[in-house]
């Protein structure tokens, strides 16, 4: 388990090496974490009531972007793609939850919809204009 010295040279067991690898991955994720505010939903017909904080973290070969308050996450090959995918998924999630009949949302989706309504709302006029 513990590193041992033989003739002044340190040897580490497999467990120690695995632990070091795990810590390096964790550290890389922490160092690589950034918060990107989503400031607009244009050209979609939605008004942003306040900026949405997207937490972007390295994950494997790409990145994940998460809106933690609403527990909505997506991913992408680059940071930009991850945030763009998150923006689009936030709208999909809002439309989906908003379209469900009252009483059919469990505790967590109901909470998510409540959070999303604090951050965005549909622009009815523009949506009608788009349909025309």
């Amino acid at each position: 388990m513990w590193p041992r010295a033989v003739s002044g040279v340190w040897f580490a067991s497999r467990d120690v090496l695995d632990e070091i690898r795990s810590l390096r991955t964790d550290l890389a994720q922490r160092v690589g974490t950034t918060v990107v505010p989503i400031t607009t939903l244009a050209p979609e017909p939605f008004q942003l009531l306040r900026d949405i904080p997207a937490v972007v973290r390295p994950a494997g070969d790409g990145f994940t972007a998460t809106f933690f308050d609403a527990n909505v996450s997506s991913a992408g090959d680059s940071e930009e793609e991850a945030v763009s995918n998150l923006r689009s998924l936030i709208l999909d999630t809002f439309e989906y939850l908003n379209s469900e009949p009252p009483g059919t949302l469990g505790p967590e989706p109901k909470r998510q919809l409540g959070v999303l309504r604090v951050f965005l709302k549909p622009i009815q006029g523009d949506a009608d204009e788009d349909r025309r």
Binding site: A59, S73, P109
Partner: protein, 90 residues
């Protein structure tokens, strides 16, 4: 790492209803007529697209999500877990 293939396997395992979004297909998991969780599956042909975020969306650890995708955890076991965590009303 959870891939798109894993995310699709989880959606099947949890009997998710699928609907199309802008860039994602939304997998909505229902139980007793209520939506209890949902997650997005990215579109695109690459099967190795990262979907690590799915575990958080269905309220399980990365290892449990892998177990769902690769069989050891069943739908019923996941329902028990969701009840314990309060995501399903008693």
């Amino acid at each position: 790492m959870l891939t798109k293939t894993d995310a699709e396997a989880i959606a099947r395992k949890l009997k998710a209803e699928m609907r199309q979004g802008r860039k994602h297909d939304i997998a909505a998991i229902k139980y007793n007529g209520q939506t209890i969780a949902h997650f997005g599956i990215r579109r695109g042909s690459r099967r190795d697209q990262g979907h690590d975020y799915v575990s958080g969306q269905i309220h399980v650890s990365p290892r449990q999500a892998t177990n769902l995708a690769q069989c050891p955890m069943s739908f019923d076991q996941w329902i028990v877990l969701m009840r314990e965590k309060g995501y399903i009303k008693p």
